[in-house]
């Protein structure tokens, strides 16, 4: 779970280095995509985005634009040093790579061949599934002291009450600088109950601070 292979698109639309910019832009519009890997002889040789294509030709409205787009070959505008992912990379690693390089996609390469592509929208979709947003549940935010056994303590309370956990995500309360240690973590639970009040009450009595729902 949460690997690149679980979220990537396998049917990739690719270009050859000889494709024209006009043709590539047409594909972007038609298929509603923004990133196209470039393949030659089965091997990935580059990647091109709709932005690369647009900015390669004279500006919109310029009479020379159409003919320039027809003339420009992908090999002239593509990025040849491609940042890629492997199908077995954790998705968070792929997300971090895209974030650090400020790019919107990673072609996925397996045994030297293009196996798929993962984009920032795929990562967002994985996040939606991760928090279980499509399944019925109530959301609870609980502060978890940063020591062993505290998450299990919270989960145990749900267990005693017969409440199933749809999803659980825990992390530092705020973004930390490297090396800094957190003063506590927040766990966000989606639990399959319409009435979390008893759980909130028990959590409070067990010494956990509940950020949501508000206690009356």
């Amino acid at each position: 779970m949460l690997l690149v292979r679980d979220s990537m698109t396998r049917e990739v639309i690719t270009l050859s280095p000889q494709t024209t910019a006009a043709e590539a832009l047409g594909l972007c519009r038609e298929r509603r995509i923004r990133h196209l890997p470039v393949v030659e002889g089965g091997r990935l040789v580059g990647v091109v985005s709709d932005r690369d294509l647009r900015s390669a030709a004279p500006a919109l409205g310029d009479p020379g634009r159409a003919s320039a787009l027809e003339r420009i070959r992908i090999s002239e505008v593509m990025t040849s040093e491609v940042v890629t992912a492997s199908p077995d990379d954790p998705i968070d690693e792929a997300a971090n790579r895209m974030r650090e390089r400020r790019i919107g996609c990673l072609p996925v390469v397996e045994s030297g061949e293009l196996a798929g592509i993962i984009t920032s929208s795929d990562v967002m979709e994985a996040l939606v599934h991760l928090v279980g947003a499509h399944e019925p549940g109530s959301r609870l935010e609980v502060v978890i002291p940063d020591r062993p056994g505290t998450l299990a303590g919270v989960a145990g309370i749900f267990g005693i009450l017969g409440i199933n956990i749809v999803s659980a995500v825990a992390g530092p309360r705020r973004e930390l600088s490297p090396g800094e240690s957190s003063e506590g973590r927040v766990a966000v639970f989606r639990v399959d109950t319409i009435d979390p009040s008893e759980a909130v009450d028990l959590l409070g009595r067990a010494g956990y601070s509940v950020l949501w729902p508000p206690q009356t």
Binding site: P136, G137, N164, T193, I194
Partner: protein
């Protein structure tokens, strides 16, 4: 405006409940009926008799495997892990003896309520026990085992081919079960106004949920901010419900009248008062006469302040369904009979005094966000409804 009204009920319907101190307590229905009776609102309205839903009725929207599992659980059978897979035996939906029978009676009652109206035997009809809108195809959820509205709509569609049903749900929780059952269906318009699912169960019901395939545009969701009060809620209702219903032109309106958006309700974070629960039925009543010759079926739904809120809110609903004046005062007889049992002070007036419930500090911002949601919903769905 007039028309004849019917109420479907009997004592056996009050067997649908989970016992102990579970928040879904059928006592709320007893209290409501006693209040209606003390006010004289039930005179001339004998309870209508009916049959429980059959397996064939239930499987119009539920899987046979699920129905069998509920029946097994009802008899005390089934492995806990299998049951839990179907949402049974959890904290929300604990198993109780004869739960299948109890819930099949609720579904049968709502089905009969609808059929009365469709046959023209009543213009409007009401069943307090209905409104189990969270029940899913194969899963009990949020205190709901079988989906009464789902079964009733599916059955009526078979009995009256081409029938167009508008389902209007003003419970504080998203009407997810009913929505998903008809998500592809352009003949069933589901409209749900509820507290935003950002925190509240079931978490769905965002404005972007609009239906799918042929049914796109026929699921309408208006998620409201926590702490929304009467003023903002009513103006969102007025902006959306009449418009989408007029565009849809229903043959029947089925309303789910959960009253758990009241400020005193322990399960939600909305801030409505009885003003909302008087406004909504009276407007649905008018729309039923305007659009579908008065054909309107009303059910209950959520409502967990069973002493101060539910009896008054649903008595008000019944008064609208049956065209009776709502008296001002809660009758002394009822207060005397029930006041001693109540853990809280019972209100003496049928309508809340708004001065008792000041608005949240951020109310202007809340109202503003709600009205933006409303505009966005209308803009996206109205062009799709035909």
């Amino acid at each position: 405006m007039s028309g004849s009204a019917a109420i479907v009920h009997d004592l056996e319907l009050e067997a649908y409940g989970f016992g102990g101190d579970h928040p879904f307590n059928p006592l709320r229905i007893r209290l409501t009926l006693e209040l209606c009776e003390a006010l004289g609102l039930l005179e001339g309205y004998p309870f209508v008799a009916w049959e429980p839903a059959t397996d064939e009725d239930l499987t119009t929207v539920h899987t046979l495997a699920y129905v069998r599992m509920v029946q097994q659980a009802s008899r005390g059978g089934g492995e806990l892990w299998d049951l839990m897979h179907y949402g049974l035996g959890t904290g929300d939906n604990p198993i109780f003896p004869e739960m299948h029978q109890a819930c099949a009676r609720v579904v049968g009652a709502v089905l009969e309520t609808c059929r009365r109206v469709m046959r023209g035997e009543a213009d409007h009809a009401m069943c307090f026990s209905g409104g189990l809108h969270h029940a899913m195809r194969s899963k009990a959820s949020g205190f709901c085992v079988y989906n009464d509205a789902g079964v009733a709509i599916a059955r009526l569609k078979e009995e009256y081919p081409g029938l167009r049903v508008a389902y209007v749900d003003t419970d504080a929780h998203h009407g997810d079960g009913v929505q998903w059952m008809f998500y592809d269906d352009p003949e069933v318009l589901t409209v749900s106004m509820h507290e935003s699912g950002r925190y509240l169960f079931p978490g769905t019901g965002g404005a972007e949920e609009r239906g799918r395939n042929g049914g796109i545009g026929y699921s309408v969701n208006v998620p409201l901010e926590p702490y929304t009060d009467d003023g903002s809620w009513i103006s969102c209702f007025e902006a959306v419900v009449p418009e989408v219903l007029r565009a849809f032109e229903p043959d029947l309106i089925l309303s789910q009248n959960g009253c758990d958006g009241h400020v005193l309700d322990p399960l939600t974070h909305l801030a409505a008062t009885t003003r909302l629960y008087e406004h909504v039925p009276s407007r649905i009543h008018e729309l039923a006469h305007e659009l579908c010759e008065g054909r309107w079926v009303a059910t209950g739904g959520g409502g967990y302040d069973i002493w101060r809120v539910v009896p008054r809110a649903w008595t008000t609903l019944w008064a609208a369904v049956s065209h009776q004046e709502l008296p001002e005062r809660v009758p002394e007889d009822w207060l005397a009979a029930r006041g001693g049992d109540s853990p809280v002070q019972l209100p003496r007036l049928m309508r809340d005094d708004p001065a008792d419930y000041p608005s949240a500090e951020r109310i202007a911002e809340i109202a503003d966000r709600n009205s933006r949601t409303t505009e966005q919903v209308l803009e996206k769905v109205l062009p799709l409804i035909r």
